[in-house]
Symmetry: C2
Subunit: 600 residues, 2 copies
């Protein structure tokens, strides 16, 4: 059975030592987040996920979900009970607003917990995870009445929530949706249509599920400008908060998927179901993007989570499995063979995973802090800077984080050799589960276009210029420190390649926008490398200071410096290659007629 131990020391390192969360104690919600409190939440969250959720991961994959004849869905053994424990412990309330029963803690803590949950059991974690997305939309756009009616029970996880966007004929292009919302006399709407790929659409965790549904009103424009968002509860909620009649929404079938078998991916049928509009008519896309942005960061965390879980198992296997001898001569001559750890190519894969997961964890938690600062920072300037940075980097965290997260899970499976291909070892599941993260909440090609087509140019490029300046400033400072000079030079160089690619887009995108589209995915990866480089500079700096100060735990800090060096040597060179690919432009990509792709 696969192992899992929440990386609490690493999370605390980032939160307390790198982000220095305590230094924000002047901001609302942060005042409670003392180092002691943070440590307690992280350790207890780590214990819960490792002890309660992780043991259900492999069995959940093997059992999957079952749709019963009455349309109800049974989740794998233990899932429902684990959710009851999660709910009772209040894990869903961590960073939700106190006004609706949340604990109002910084998102940083919520994200740390999301990583642990998802590493332990991604399919399970999606049930409360989707609820968070639905909550954020109601928080941002719901009426006071809607907020009061739904949010407390969703935040407490008494009810769950879902997001209903995709239809059989459209996913990315939501302007094509066909689900209709016809006004009823009482101000509600009758919702009719079919939604597919609805994660957690039906399940046995809770007495009610609050669906957020995109649909078109009768006179809506036939485009993305004609989409509205609706609350459609599975069970109607009376004014006193008690449950009323069953609504006309049901799960038509479950999908057979490559992974996340423990999550019920539903076809949802709306047959004149009663719904209530959230926010303004025809402004559903904006509300949807609030859900999506939160969800995209969450998916980036999932990319990290599967890489981390797979990494831990590969480390264990590489210690246990003896095969061959060190190239420098037997490391343990009294044994018949050395462990896999002596082989440089095995270590290369493990170091790669270590450098990615630790860098990505820092980036996700730093991103969570920006989410908080967007709303809570003391000055308008700080709020804008945080908003700029997290808007810019959301597609990078989602797209680069899940691409590299998947590749890492694949490499960790590779460490196992043939055993990695056998389901009982669990490595296949990490790969299969990680695979969806590159696809859902906007496929990574869509993330790349969001980055280069929207985020780069916003406000005259203010965000990307701020990012470049931030990286250059920190790299310049780090060059003065002998332990970090090599990394700093490499990150600075990668940042230079990124600037050059940005310039190339500006110069070549006007004449032909396909030049930007053809390089978008490469650009997203470049920015991911530079962003992780920034994180490694910061982590390296803290580690160097701790070692100089002799604060103890020297092995931990030394490992950070070695891993930072590895990152510089093995991650940053790709930035130059990606730039050269971008500069190839669109010509060879767009030239061939469609027929030329067919085989004869």
């Amino acid at each position: 059975m696969p192992v899992y131990k929440a990386p609490t020391r690493d999370a605390r390192f980032v939160i307390n030592e790198v982000l220095k969360l305590e230094s924000y104690s002047n901001l609302p919600g942060f005042e409670q987040a003392t180092a002691d409190m943070i440590d307690a939440v992280i350790e207890e969250g780590g214990r819960f996920t490792a002890e309660v959720l992780a043991p259900l991961n492999l069995s959940g994959d093997q059992q999957g979900c079952t749709r019963n004849a009455d349309g109800s869905v049974t989740t794998p053994s233990g899932f429902k009970e684990a959710h009851a424990q999660f709910r009772e412990a209040g894990w869903g309330t961590l960073s939700a607003p106190e006004q609706f029963g949340g604990q109002g803690l910084p998102h940083v803590l919520g994200f740390a917990m999301e990583e642990f949950v998802s590493s332990a059991n991604q399919a399970w974690g999606m049930y409360p995870g989707l609820t968070n997305g639905a909550v954020s939309a109601i928080l941002a756009k719901g009426s006071a009445e809607q907020q009061a009616k739904y949010l407390p029970k969703m935040i407490s996880n008494e009810w769950l929530g879902t997001m209903n966007l995709t239809e059989p004929h459209c996913g990315t292009d939501l302007g094509l949706i066909r689900t209709r919302a016809v006004p009823n006399a009482d101000g509600s709407y009758a919702i009719t249509g079919t939604k597919i790929f609805i994660s957690a659409g039906e399940n046995d965790f809770t007495a009610n599920i609050i669906h957020l549904v995109l649909a078109k009103t009768p006179d809506a424009p036939d485009s993305t400008k004609g989409i509205s968002l609706f609350i459609v509860p599975k069970v109607l909620v009376n004014d006193d908060g008690s449950l009323g009649a069953r609504n006309a929404v049901s799960c038509g079938s479950l999908e057979h998927k490559m992974g996340i078998h423990g999550n019920a991916t539903c076809v949802m049928n709306y047959d004149g179901a009663t719904g209530w509009m959230v926010g303004e008519e025809n402004k559903g896309l904006a509300a949807m993007f609030i859900m999506m942005n939160a969800a995209r960061l969450g998916v980036g965390v999932q990319g990290l989570s599967q890489a981390e879980a797979a990494y831990q198992n590969a480390v264990q296997y590489a210690q246990d499995r003896r095969q061959g001898r060190a190239l420098t001569g037997p490391a343990e001559p009294d044994q018949k063979a050395d462990t896999l750890f002596v082989h440089p190519d095995v270590r290369r894969m493990l170091m790669d995973a270590k450098a990615f997961t630790e860098g990505m964890r820092a980036l996700c938690l730093w991103g969570a802090l920006q989410v908080d600062l967007t709303h809570k920072a003391a000055t308008e300037e700080e709020r804008q800077m945080a908003d700029d940075l997290i808007s810019l980097l959301t597609p990078v965290i989602k797209g680069y984080g899940t691409d590299k997260g998947f590749d890492t899970a694949v490499n960790m499976q590779q460490v196992f050799g043939g055993h990695g291909y056998i389901e009982e070892w669990g490595m296949s599941q990490f790969v299969r589960d990680a695979r969806i993260t590159q696809i859902y909440e906007g496929a990574n090609g869509v993330q790349a276009m969001d980055l280069v087509g929207r985020k780069l140019a916003q406000n005259g490029g203010r965000a990307v210029q701020a990012f470049f300046a931030l990286v250059d400033a920190e790299a310049a400072a780090a060059k003065a420190k002998p332990e970090l000079a090599g990394l700093a030079e490499r990150v600075e160089k990668a940042n230079g390649e990124l600037k050059a690619a940005t310039m190339w887009f500006m110069q070549n995108g006007m004449t032909n926008p396909n030049n930007v589209g053809a390089g978008a995915h490469h650009y997203m990866h470049m920015m991911g490398i530079v962003a992780l480089g920034l994180m490694w500079l910061r982590m390296g700096e803290v580690a160097a200071e701790a070692l100089a100060a002799g604060t103890g735990d020297a092995a931990f800090y030394k490992a950070k410096l070695v891993t930072a060096r590895y990152f510089g040597e093995r991650f940053t060179p790709d930035a130059g290659a990606l730039r050269r690919k971008i500069e190839g432009g669109a010509e060879a990509i767009m030239e061939l007629p469609v027929e030329a792709f067919a085989r004869a």
Copy 2:
């Protein structure tokens, strides 16, 4: 249901126009291989695989294999009947020696057919595929009596064959095997032990299965120098060729795997089974490597095959699915949305797959020609050159071909968005099936070490120097041609990076062999890029000549030139990045103690 059309035009292009197989008609076996004959075999093979094997691929994945209470194994519906058709049509005999009932045709044709079979149904193709490996070992090392007894029926596919190497505690490190072979009075041996991961180990295709088994004789040295190879038939064969008693070998269980569900991956129990030694005692590893080298090329072809099958389906989907608008304005304003083909990032993925599959097909077929020339070329010099090149490139074809083949299948799945994750669409299967190719017949890290640790230095580096010279000569010649100058410069540059990396290994491997191990995988990928570059130079040259000569089919040749350009722009830049990674060396990789990898 997934589509498949054998890429016969592309195969014929490589065989007839690029390799110019007819020009070898002076060599034995090649004299029959006229262009007409080649075209007939390719087209008929394409038809057979598309019509008979491809329709069983998805259902085979869904049904999997079943081990019955008596230890027999039932394969998916239709598999057995398809094999009967395959056998009757003589597809297994294509490039087998005429002496044992084969057709004696060049391996080039056998490889082309292997690709089609594997694209259509990889799990099915492994049944006859493993037989080929077993045949090659008996051909090389078996006694005349063994050859006469087993080869005709194995070549005709009346019986199948398997390869039994791996044991629960060892795969890569075969020196650790525990299976024993105790001599019987009659010259046979009693084989006892457990083998795992035995593909096609038991099945219902044929009346007999000839297992080739690695085992140790009682006084054998306790290392790879103490391994012998044995023939262990499932059913003993009488001297007159009729079947005798059932041998004491049986399938103990089937593995639950990530993919290739249609192939029975068996735990095989040998309980004093009667076996006969193949070749000399304690020289089993050499015999095994004959099987392995053939099998490794075959696995490289499998990497290609899954990329090709996935590519064809992605091309189809990108034509059918309408989502969003072209960046340059609506391509089809009368439709509600344009097809996926208008999006540069979708085309990037498709062009990438096109450039890889076409380049890899050329490399595999070129490799097959080298296999033939190793034995059949007119002069000793030519034979040696062919042997050098294919020995050098076998790990590259296997390792790079399957890494990139898997990545390509993943990208083609990505084209489908959410539908790619749903099993019924078949894209998940291509990815799951492709995944094993990076692992079996020597994990790709082992291939990389074979390349840098053995192949580079053999005969004073003769092979790699010949390869460098070949690439430089062809790049220099191509630079004179305007259509190819850009590609030629890029391939030459990549070759320069490869030479520099080779030099770096020479300079830094002596003091610390881990410096070579730490860069081995990157080096294998570099050589893959350069080798594909060589193929694209050759294909580009043929295409340019055909266009200049106005031989017709201009769209086909034009597409080759555009794809060649794409290859240059998007594949070759990685060579420089890989070299920089190699030059990072082993320090950061080997420095940390094992404890530093654990999470706290």
